[in-house]
């Protein structure tokens, strides 16, 4: 049985994500599911490291807060067609903050942004691209201190 991992994540989330220039989550937790072309792992990961640098360099407090709760995971096995799956978990989301990668890069590296954008945009699998999801935590009632 084959099923969509993120299929049906919600048309509402999709519209939000597609609005020009903003990637703002509406929930407490966000997830970005990125499908990267085979052979583009280095390009994608290098760009995301630049995002980390950009956030760290920012004079905006919220930008630095974004970095604190932004983790990116990579699936150990590629998907069909060799597509690479990356999942970024943003827990918690910085309320109202824009998570659009090109914008973050543009703020910190304006003279490099075209090249960075081309690298970033060119890394995505054209059929699947990137999905944004709004998540809410379910309290499991575990007697474990939050990190």
């Amino acid at each position: 049985m084959a099923i969509a991992f993120v299929g049906g994540i919600g048309w509402g989330a999709a519209r939000t994500a597609a609005q020009p220039g903003t990637r703002v989550f509406t929930a407490d937790v966000g997830m970005m599911v990125s499908h990267v072309k085979s052979g583009q792992a280095v390009a994608f990961e290098r760009t995301m490291k630049r995002v980390g640098e950009a956030l760290a360099l920012s004079e905006e407090f919220d930008r630095r807060r974004q970095a604190v709760s932004w983790k990116i995971y990579k699936a150990t096995d590629p998907l069909e067609g060799g597509v690479l799956l990356y999942i970024a978990l943003l827990d918690p989301v910085v309320s109202g903050a824009d998570y659009w990668v090109p914008q973050i890069l543009n703020e910190a590296f304006p003279t490099e942004v075209q090249e960075l954008y081309d690298t970033y945009a060119g890394a995505f699998d054209e059929g699947q691209g990137q999905h944004l999801m709004n998540l809410t935590r379910v309290d499991l009632g575990l007697a474990v201190a939050e990190p």
Partner: protein, 186 residues
Amino acid sequence: MTLAPSESPEATKQEHMRTMVNKGSRSSHVWIGVALVAVVAFGVLLGSSFAPVSEAAAQPTVNFSSATGIVLNVVDPTRTADFEEVMKAFGGSLVGSSDPQRQRMGEGLKLYRAAEAGPNNFALYYLFVDPAVSGGNYAVAQVLADEYMGGPPGNGDEVRAIYEKYSAALTGGGQQTINMDLMLEF
């Protein structure tokens, strides 16, 4: 679901390039209209690793071969309360176990529910296992059978009841397990 032309990857890429060429600006406005990386396809196939309910609920062993695991659960929208009850019992059984390995397994669990419904209005739950305990068996049914309500032999009725809830919640949906590694933490 069909993407509007302006949301298709090629169209947005072309739109972006036009914007860059025409404006020649480095300002944030150059990004307006670019939606390449936010393309939404309603139905992204990951292949055949998805387990339907009959297998998902009953599988005796769930291991992760990586440092982190994610389990996607596609849940009947009328049974989300039951599913959450089961997952609380699962987590509670792990952290309450006398087995140190299972305690550590429980400590790494986080459960998230997608705000937007999935296909057929089913609810999507993502169980993050971070860190995944090497060699640990995360099969819900097995953990509940071993640990729930004090473990066997006295927990038979309780385990059967909660397993039925678990199985029913996944009916029509299912479960998918993915091995992940932390690539980057800013």
